[in-house]
Symmetry: D2
Subunit: 355 residues, 4 copies
């Protein structure tokens, strides 16, 4: 397969996007080239375009896609052209020391598994390069649509991990701060970790409703009441066993600590994009002695994770497509992107069709 | 045994201590009364006298003693008058929900297992009341002196827990911030958790020397160099697997996060006594996604914990008495206390003889 | 309240049951006396009557009841006469060393938390003695019926623990051997631990149907096919991430090991009542090197566990009453007992009404 | 570098060894070729020659070597010819599903990380092929000799893992069954996990002495007394918190279960080479309800593991060379092998010099 051109949706510079022509990527011996079929726009791409990770020039955006294998490197054993696959938003280097330590998303450096639209071109292009195809792709079962599968790349993987890390006791109490797509999947994840009572914090009515559908027993509207007070009241003044921060703001980070009982866990999956510090409220943190743990994670990637999430879709355990509020063709992807950027029209997730 | 009076070393009010007469306490059905033989002065008592937990009137101070059982309640089965015992600084309510959840030191409320010299009279008196004797006392083996055993009550239990919580990999790298008695025991604890390389941060020469004796491979003197830079250099820019905060200051808390590698653990055992917030440095924390865990603990108490620590003393695994720099009789306890308060004369731990 | 007589359903001797008069028990300072309202018959009582734990004389049977507090000891703080409560089948000594080590059900000796109808009188009497009332009782929320709450004492607590111990990955595969009431709750528990695919092994049609209702994706009928072969085929020859043994037989124990993949977990909650050995199949166990863990548990008890299970009932997460196939008044309890003993009339659980 | 011949020490067929000429291996893009400098003979090679893993023809033996990099594949980034390195006995496929699940030694199939002298040629040859060089090699620090480093490949990694898996509480009690080189390193590993009291079981005087040097507090000689009785007596009838099986025999497996207290852990690192079953003694196992866990492991491999073990050598935490009882040149390797096979002359480990 010779070199050829392709169209790619890029961050031209800070604040600017474009659709341009790029060279189709070539695979190394362990790699694959995909042709996307469906993709989802993620808020973190909008942060990137606004400069969160610094200046970039014509960086292809996107990290949530499914597609078809177009080409594989000579050492790839489990995938071949024509295979219908999903690739994780995070594509770790599986032999790195961090991966060997159980932290593949931190391959070689902090957040080092996050390559797409960060240290290499992202997925919103006609062809996409995937490092370590055997490690980072998964076949999509017949019973799962491309649309559904696209949610395993990031939203399900990240949101569910927020719940997995929260150390939720069977029948325990959980608060989930923010019900964007990650928070909604954290709410569903809490159900799948045996939570006995789930309190979602959210003010947008459409998201509140989805939160209930995904399993929230209570919704606290922080525009109507103080979230901390409301949660303490719902828990008879005791606080929750587990709090999940799914926004990335100082306020929700502090609130999550404040509502967590001694011995409980604060699980952060929000991306904290600005400010010099996050603030730990000293007293509610029990002066550093209340046995409250604060844990964090970056979206888990990898074939095994994807296979397990696809199995949940195949068995009908969760329907993430309820979060898809809009749909666009690839040629209109800029429109989708700026809709997401402005959080207009009650958008939750815009779907992009590549064919 | 009738009511009678006894002498007690008390916090008369904020800033004032005294030795006064008090009524000897009476045991409930599960309780015991001890007659102390040896005790150790703890810095946290000095914080208390300076008002850290609010106003108190004639509160007996102290929480680190060994002694002899003087009387037991009718339901106590495993101890009787004359037994040589140690009581933990923390005396949990073992049937509380927090204890059932695996957090006995948080019995009924944050830090609720901390009763001595907090919500009830402490241990620096001629007689000491112990709640739940079967749960909170331990017999001292013949091979262990009272002096040694006194270190199990808090310094060994807290310092070692700092290391246990730090999730140190076999052969991993550890930084321990501050080498007071808790930090020194955290350093020794890191050895006992299989650390491959231990970096102690301390400026006082006597403590630096003890740190090396207890197992530190490097000592960083923060008065001579930037602790974070020094630790990053010692670890080839990678940071440590585990950092232990054994001071309770904002600076060391921040530094501990800064030197911890992605996927690593910050274990806090320092008591953070002032300030509205502790500050999490956002970037070094990996914008909330670097899989760095921040865990905290209050000194573990209880018979089982004490028995295991006494076993380590009995087998000669650790000699905590190297930390005893001064010795006083009970009548001179005020002198011992204010020496500790001023950290004068290179004091590390002052021992108090009750007989 | 003076001494008085009461009726109790007892094991008169091996093989014989009776309803006799006994003295009403008296509470110690930490204890309570309950008056049962609803109870469930458990197969383990039938084992007891057949001699599984040796000879007993007029031992009151039963360990699954809810009731009303009739009297409390002087040190009990959180319960008072008239309170509607549930008591766990297992009533640990919370200050024992085993409880302090995180194994309350092993208080003081192996299975030492199992007191009812073992080392003291059980619950099938007009009055029931409960040790450590604050630690071992829980108030029943208004939204939960006595009938529902009775399932928290053992079936939910044991079955769910089978799933909690199985280390089920989010989206992982699980096999549950036997779908008696514990196995059925293990199946539901697997759903609540995020299982992606659940294979239940059972031959009785009514139990197969309930298994599907509680979340089994496949049912393997071991009367029709070899269970190991069927499970290996369903998992493409890979085996499951987690296997739960909920019967207590050598065959199912061996099969559970055989179907578990390298790195997986076998979680045993079956009571293995006979034979000198359980047999670990050496090759399928990976010659002791395949990183398969075999873990076991006795029903967890305690106020916190009960509260959390009651919360799941209150939120409607599970309906255990589907397992109630028969209902009897206390005067007919012998009939209920022998029905359970013979597993007649497709019985799953017989409910006993005390009033 | 063209093809050329080299000498290799092989299993010619079951029961027969030889030194023959073979073609020097070639590296794939991720691989490396090493030239060994030092090696150690392992008992498992003798099992192999006796047929434990079936018939092989001219399979090169050996899996414990250090050496110098001779050649690397085009995708290798962190190693180059001339580097002084160690390679693990186990060389996982780091992108396999098992590795992603945290079980790299089970890559692709049970024990799949064990490639040397099993599914490919081993290390006792003039040139050795290493799969995934970046993932499976580690540079040897200047302060560590080749002789020392050779022990990280298997003996230290396996023995220490036996202790790491044993869930030893700080100050807990441990029994280690058999004090061959793996058992001796398990004993040292228990020290490095904070054990309070270590009981080694062994009958050979030289091994008993080394056990004490590595940290055993007691040695039980099973030729003189019943090991189970002796251990129960040493633990006041309570049993140990953790038992490590480092032999691979049914008797020691049963004994390990028998001496483990309720709630304790049996950690198996012995290779169970024969028999249809291992036998779990039903009663001492607590009829499947005493919360005793039985866990197993295959030697961990990988760059990170090796680096951490090398760090322990570099800091002088352990001296494994005390186990080297004999030394041979490569031309005499058959003599070394059959000495090990017969356990003659009180051999513990024979060292092989390649240059």
């Amino acid at each position: 397969m010779g070199k050829c051109n392709m169209r790619a949706f890029v961050m031209a510079e800070i604040g600017e996007t474009d659709i341009i022509e790029k060279e189709r990527p070539e695979p190394g011996p362990m790699d694959a080239i995909l042709k996307p079929t469906k993709g989802l726009i993620c808020t973190s791409d909008t942060h990137t375009v606004h400069g969160a990770i610094g200046e970039r020039e014509d960086l292809t955006l996107g990290h949530e896609i499914v597609g078809v294998v177009d080409e594989v490197g000579g050492e790839v054993t489990d995938f071949e052209p024509g295979d219908r696959v999903v690739v994780g938003a995070i594509t770790p280097d599986w032999n790195s020391e961090a991966a060997q330590a159980g932290h593949p998303s931190q391959s070689n450096q902090a957040l080092g598994g996050w390559k797409f639209a960060n240290v290499k071109d992202g997925t919103f292009a006609e062809y996409v390069h995937v490092n370590d195809a055997d490690g980072n792709l998964a076949h999509i079962p017949d019973g799962v649509t491309d649309h559904e599968a696209a949610y395993t790349t990031d939203m399900m993987s990240t949101g569910f991990r927020g719940a997995e890390n929260a150390d939720i006791p069977m029948g325990g109490t959980v608060a989930v701060f923010a019900q964007g797509p990650v928070g909604l999947m954290a709410t569903k994840g809490a159900v799948l970790q045996g939570a006995g009572e789930i309190i979602a914090v959210e003010t947008v009515p459409e998201r509140q409703e989805l939160a209930r559908e995904y399993g929230a027993d209570h919704v606290v509207d922080f525009a109507d009441e103080d979230a901390v007070e409301a949660i303490m009241e719902l828990t008879d003044g005791k606080g929750v066993d587990s709090a999940i921060e799914a926004l990335g703001a100082d306020q929700t980070f502090q609130d999550a600590i404040k509502v967590t009982k001694p011995g409980g866990t604060v699980s952060n999956v929000g991306y904290h994009g600005d400010g010099e510090f996050r603030h730990v409220p000293r007293e509610e943190w029990g002066v550093g002695m209340a046995e409250i743990s604060i844990v964090t994670d970056l979206c888990p990637g990898g074939r095994l994770r994807l296979k397990r999430l696809l199995r949940l879709l195949d068995q009908g355990v969760v329907d993430p497509t309820k979060m898809t509020t809009h749909e666009f063709d690839f040629e209109d992807i800029e429109e989708a992107f700026w809709l997401m950027d402005g959080k207009e029209d009650n958008v939750i997730k815009p779907l992009v069709n590549f064919e």
